[in-house]
Amino acid sequence: MTPVDRREGAAALTSTVAADHARIIAAVIRSVGDWQLAEDALQDAYERALSAWSRDGVPTNPAGWLVTTARRRAIDLLRRAGTQDAATRRLAIELGLRESNGRTVRVPPNGAGSQQPGLADGAEADDPGPVATGGGSTARDPFQELGADSGAGFDDDRLRLVFTCAHPALTMEARVALTLRTVLGRPVAEIGRLFFTSEPTMQKRLVRARAKIAHAGIPYRVPTTRELPERMGGVLTVLYLLFTAGYSSPEPDDAHDALCMDAIGLVRTVLSLLPADAPEQLEASGLLALMSTQQARRRARFRDGAAVTMREQDRTLWDRDAIAQAQRVLDRTLARASHERMPVGPYVLQAAIALEHARPAEAADTDWVRITQLHRTLAAVAPSPSGTLARAVAEGHAHGPAAGLALLDGLDGLTESHLFHAVRGELLEQSGDRDAARAAFLRAASTAPSAAECADLLRRADEVGPPRSGRVP
């Protein structure tokens, strides 16, 4: 390998991490068992790669290099810990005998079976470390598993990580944060921003989540077919939250866009795991159609940093192919549900609503009666305040503003939200009550989360028109 300049080394590391982070961390977790140790060791390996790759050139198998180096770092860290427990764990890593869930350590009767990690590029890592050497290896070598092939094994790794990150024994926030960090390799600072908290605070929460995985014995594996039904819902929730975190950003950029695409990719991976006749296919397919439809409109959703309502969006910016594809997924899902007389769940219904909105070429052609029907079914299956808000808009268009306003009256919990007042303003405007509409838009503007949205709501207040003449304030 020939030396490259530092920038080139850094670029090689960035592209390796972007393409392979999940596979790399999965291999390190498999090898060292403990999630925190794997994370710490891999961070070290990333730092070492920066200098080593610039000095010695980029290895032919960068991912393998990182795994081998991380494993040696883990052994080093355990040696430094100096406790009996650490020594046992170190031995297990050196012998390559850790079970997939990281709990059981078995020493082979003949004492052999140790292996030499880093048979190729990895051996040139700048920290050779006194790794146990021995005869031929019978244990699984994570380095060799990380060859050029990135086929089915890649999905397996991602699925194992996803199901462990989304385990119901973790809090919902920990599940989402851990998925962002471990499966998608997002920087801790970025995850902190998504949760409106600082990097050190997020770091602490991630450490706590990894500690719970170790202490509570959360297994590192894909659930069995029998367990899948009760685990699937939680995984889909996490994936939709990932998507929403990227989608709802008031400043859509490449990072948020990539997050949405990654979330869609993970739903596809999860779908591929399910047998074709599994009932969970329905909701997973529904979620895929929902996310794809939302993502297809992303270029039209913001103008100058402010969210643009569906009615005002420039529909020529929508990705029509993606919408047609989502429609096919939904049609297949609905056909199957009706054929097998299975009830449809909230994701399928939300996808149907999203596609009703996305299909017409003009906003005026929207079938509000159909959308209202879908919202009513959704409210019966999975009532939620944000669902009621969207339903109020639909009822307003389909059956008049009074119907929409009546629904809003029951939404006490949302009166602090700018969306609530924006919807109320829209319905009041429709009903001809201009003064109340203006007041609602102004109230919405006062609680808007960004300056751009505030400006947009002020504009809408302005467009309602001036107060009626003769009205004495």
Binding site: N101, R103, H167, A169, H215, A216, G217, I218, P219
Partner: protein, 109 residues
């Protein structure tokens, strides 16, 4: 791994139904596989005594250490491969329906 299952009462759970209580079956199955290492019912909280040493002085109080509508009615010490197996075992305990079960990993010294 070892886990302790704290068998708790819960006023919001299904009312207790003696006919549906298959605890013998639950214990029997786990004894067969050797997964249940120990376990007992606990006398009601009226029979509890709380002991503290404060400033070197022993304080003994009647009753549990907190006033509560829910209390621990029993415990089981089980051996499970991982949390998922422990959850599986806990979910089959009749008190998962008539109360609730807290699964706590044992923290060995």
């Amino acid at each position: 791994m070892q886990y302790v299952l704290f068998i708790c009462t819960d006023p919001t759970a299904e009312p207790y139904d003696a006919d549906q209580d298959n605890i013998e079956e639950w214990v029997g199955e786990l004894q067969k596989t050797g997964k249940r290492l120990d376990g007992n019912r606990l006398r009601p909280i009226d029979d509890a005594t709380t002991v503290m040493v404060r400033g070197g002085e022993r304080v003994v109080a009647a009753g549990p250490f907190t006033e509560t509508r829910e209390w621990i009615a029993g415990y089981d010490l089980i051996e499970a491969d991982d949390l998922d197996e422990a959850i599986e075992i806990a979910a089959k305990h009749p008190m998962a329906r008539f109360g609730r079960v807290e699964v706590r990993p044992v923290w060995p010294f």
